[in-house]
Symmetry: C2
Subunit: 428 residues, 2 copies
């Protein structure tokens, strides 16, 4: 089997005005769909965050990828690294999301090659990762502070006909009451059994109050998480972390650096999770040396693919870290990949994060994947088990061209609401 063509299609999916440490989500989130075609007529799919930098790196990888055997991942990866070098840790950037481009190119190719292998042999990707441990993969509700608005073409407008979760998705949520209402609507629709709040938007007292309101509303059996995206100082993290002892399942990235996290961890009786201080294999020795966290959030887009995420899980098993999963906005191809990873990971310790409920469009055949009882059932087809809906892909690509966005920049979006607003690495 040889790769004969690599197609790279930037798309934009509608996204509501969600608040986070870096500012505000634009009306569209950008993704890029990668298709690898082979000489035996198969097509392997993957999806990664979309930005002009990543798209350029994907285009630059094309000459390395074409003609390669998709079953020899080691050879393809080492050729890519010889071609590009490797990402520096600094290239991650200071935003909540990882900006390293090569690792995302590796992720795209790892996933698409696994999809090809699965299709070639009639096997689910989870089987290629060592075997299916669970058919139903649990996800967590992912709450956001948000302004009123639907996103997409409606932007800050709303659809007055919307009902249920569709209506709640468009409503503002700017205080504990709004967050609890959002949670109730999301849980009613999708059956989530864990709840995460994206914090780092308001001062800690308000976000801690929101977590306590969620605890009050859902009781002690629903695990809760808060993610201030490292906007707190160590002192703030200790102060408010202590307030959250017994309330949270874990506190995610309260502050910056492994040393900062380790200091908080020593002072607070609350598991700490990270996708900002331990974010690559090169960070693992520092994690062990400092004891910076209890739980590492893998994200196959940022760790170099599904196989790399399985390697991370093995490290977590041996060094007594839990494993959970980070998410940015994504469509169904990524949701399928995340679900195969969750299905194959023996030591998955927590429900996975997903932004999926916040989107309403997708580019896969059969429409959006179902989340029921908080779980996604492993797709039944070979490979990832999803196929491209070409008309939907064309529409999403038109949206990309029309919206004019070239990268995620939540600061610019926020400035449209609050002139002069600036991202800060540490705020409280």
């Amino acid at each position: 089997m040889k790769i004969t063509a690599m197609r790279i299609t930037p798309i934009a999916l509608g996204d509501p005005p969600l608040l986070n440490a870096a500012g505000l989500h634009a009306p569209y989130c950008l993704r890029t769909v990668i298709e690898l075609e082979t000489d035996n007529g198969l097509t392997g799919l993957a999806e990664v965050p979309g930005s002009s930098a990543i798209n350029a790196k994907l285009e630059a990888a094309r000459s390395v990828v074409q003609g390669r055997d998709p079953l020899n991942w080691h050879a393809l990866r080492s050729t890519l690294r010889a071609h590009f070098g490797t990402d520096s840790a600094a290239a991650r950037g200071d935003k909540p999301w990882d900006q390293r481009a090569l690792v995302q190119v590796e992720s795209a190719l790892d996933v698409a090659c696994l999809d090809l292998a699965g299709k070639a042999f009639g096997l689910p990707v989870a089987t290629l990762l060592g075997g299916i441990v669970r058919e139903r993969v649990p996800y967590s509700a992912y709450l956001f502070y948000k302004y009123e608005g639907a996103g997409g073409e409606l932007a800050f407008g709303t659809d007055p006909q919307a009902k249920g979760w569709d209506a709640a998705r468009q409503a503002a949520a700017l205080d504990p009451e709004g967050i609890v209402a959002q949670a109730k609507a999301m849980v009613a629709e999708f059956g989530f059994q864990s709840i995460k709040l994206k914090g780092g938007c308001f001062e800690p007292a308000q976000e801690v109050a929101a977590m306590k309101a969620l605890r009050q509303a859902f009781g002690p059996d629903v695990p809760l998480r808060l993610d201030p995206n490292a906007l707190w100082t160590v002192e703030t993290s200790v102060k408010w972390g202590r307030e959250l002892e017994g309330v949270l399942e874990y506190l995610e990235d309260p502050c910056r650096t492994q040393e900062g996290m380790a200091a908080v961890r020593r002072a607070v009786k609350l598991p700490l999770a990270t996708n900002m201080c331990t974010t690559s294999f090169a960070d693992l020795p520092g994690s062990i040396n400092t004891g910076s966290e209890d739980v590492i959030l893998t994200d196959h887009h940022f760790w170099g693919g599904l196989r790399a995420s399985m390697e991370l899980a093995a490290h977590c098993r041996n060094f007594e870290r839990g494993v959970s999963m980070h998410s940015n906005n994504h469509g169904g191809i990524s949701l399928a990949a995340m679900t195969h990873l969750g299905a194959a990971m023996p030591n998955l310790s927590y429900a996975l994060d997903t932004h999926y409920p916040w989107q309403w469009e997708d580019v896969i055949v059969g429409g959006r994947m179902k989340i029921e009882d908080g779980c996604v059932t492993l797709p039944s087809g070979p490979g990832l088990g999803v196929e491209l809906d070409r008309p939907a892909l064309a529409r999403a690509h038109e949206n990309f061209q029309r919206c004019g966005l070239t990268e995620r920049n939540d600061e610019i979006e926020m400035q449209k609401k609050i002139p002069g607003w600036k991202f800060a690495q540490t705020r409280w």
Copy 2:
């Protein structure tokens, strides 16, 4: 695909009277051949060290294995562990070789399931491990102090017709000159480009003299290794390690415990390798904490299989350990498995150990695998690329029944030559 039958065949292969820290090799080494048959007519092979304990554990695993999907390794492994518990570190034993039974059962099943998957899809096992990095896998010459004798039916007798390596294989080697002569004959036959001496047989001064004689004979371009199998104290290791600075590629297990190895490593400018102080995933945190070695010798029989050995290699990459490979006596099924692992491991840093030249019998079709220019070329067939020679297997099983051995016990064999000889964990 379902496993319908599991066949367990103990075999004995002739083995010369090789000396080592635990005593003397018996005229036969014991191995066990595992065959998994499936409902679609395939047979998956594996080979593990043979002992009544391991064979009993394999028999006890049969009820767990039958009816299982060989493609779902995670499910099979977790069911095995639920059935048996896991091996304790203490179960490794104090001998140079690892005596944990469950990890060897896991290895047998991992290899046989990969062989089945490869045969089902027409893929080499190395491809299933992520891809072929090298087609020709380098091995190291493995020298032994030995008494005169051929082993097998001839036991301490020799075949006067033997020529070349066959003659050298039967000759005594009890001093530096004998070791150099053995090395020259082995290198002439197989083309090895690295050389290892099994030490722990004579006092350190003599073994160090042998290494210096090898350096003299082969020059500085042939990497040399010495393995005293932890018979030295920390003080002895430091003293003689310093003598070997600039002479060895690495010194393997000079002394016991991670703390002991770390102390030697701080005092001696020589890379240390281990298959005795860091021998399981549970040992990795201790390795990182103490800095006990530079190189970890994987052995898929003792780490739980080929997939587990790939995981170990990933840990070595991230924690700056080199990777090499340990060997006990083995036949062609294990050599094929070791070669697939070596072919797929991106960060294999050293030529692999193998006892293979010391045997002259095998149970695979086509006779013994070839070692040329010190390398084994990856077999070309699907799976492991080797098939059972049923008449040869039957003969090797008859040898097992006739020889009366039930486990490896080099102390008893040594006592036949030196009455009252006792194994000691630390000797010099």
